[in-house]
Subunit: 146 residues, 2 copies
Amino acid sequence: MPITSAQKSYLAGFLDGDGSIYVRLKPNKSYQYGFQVSPYVIFFQSSKNRKSFESLCSLLGFGYMRERKDGILEFTVGRKNDIKQFLSMVKPYVILKKKQVDLMEVILKRKEKVNNKNDFVKLINLIDSFRGLNYSKKRIKHTLTP
Amino acid sequence: MPITSAQKSYLAGFLDGDGSIYVRLKPNKSYQYGFQVSPYVIFFQSSKNRKSFESLCSLLGFGYMRERKDGILEFTVGRKNDIKQFLSMVKPYVILKKKQVDLMEVILKRKEKVNNKNDFVKLINLIDSFRGLNYSKKRIKHTLTP
């Protein structure tokens, strides 16, 4: 069933309220520049609301649910094409996380076009600029392996 | 400007993600049964997002904004008719907080019809059932003044 514009608008509101858009840089020596670049859109919810949270997330038709040890449900969209599709759905309606949506779109495009270390450094700088937009208290300085 | 159905749907999503629906019972001897009954719909946001949060909240045309000492913005809808109007807007779209919306509507109706102590006890029991729906860690047993 195709998702309606009211549902897209709802998801935009839910993203603005509860969602998180970010990119993790995981140190990993098997990658060319020493980091794996992992983009995410994540929603959180108490497992109390499991049924309705599952029905909400199933609107999307992608992503996966897991329950953390503390009882919080985490719904993750992690595949590049799913994230792109999700962002294009909610983009017309998002208010609070407009900048994060735009930044993620730029990062996903740039990621495909990394040809050398200089490109990768620029990508990392873009990713680091998420920290200014999100509420993260951690500020990590990313340094490339030589 | 009248609010569109896409905006109502967005607000439903935002309520499900970030919002809070509850009733405070404030001990107050000047009230007939010893408590003031104060219903609320509240949204929270980092003051980082002040501008876009204000533009979001201004969709409603009611409610008021305040900044807490910890820098969190709190947007409160506290007047009975404003709450009723807000709930009727989002009701068709709400997924996760459906029970809270229904319960608040019942409480607002009952509150108008309290004629005796027995009615008030029933009202308080309804209000206490919010605790089962929301994430509150506090469990207060409300006892009426004799």
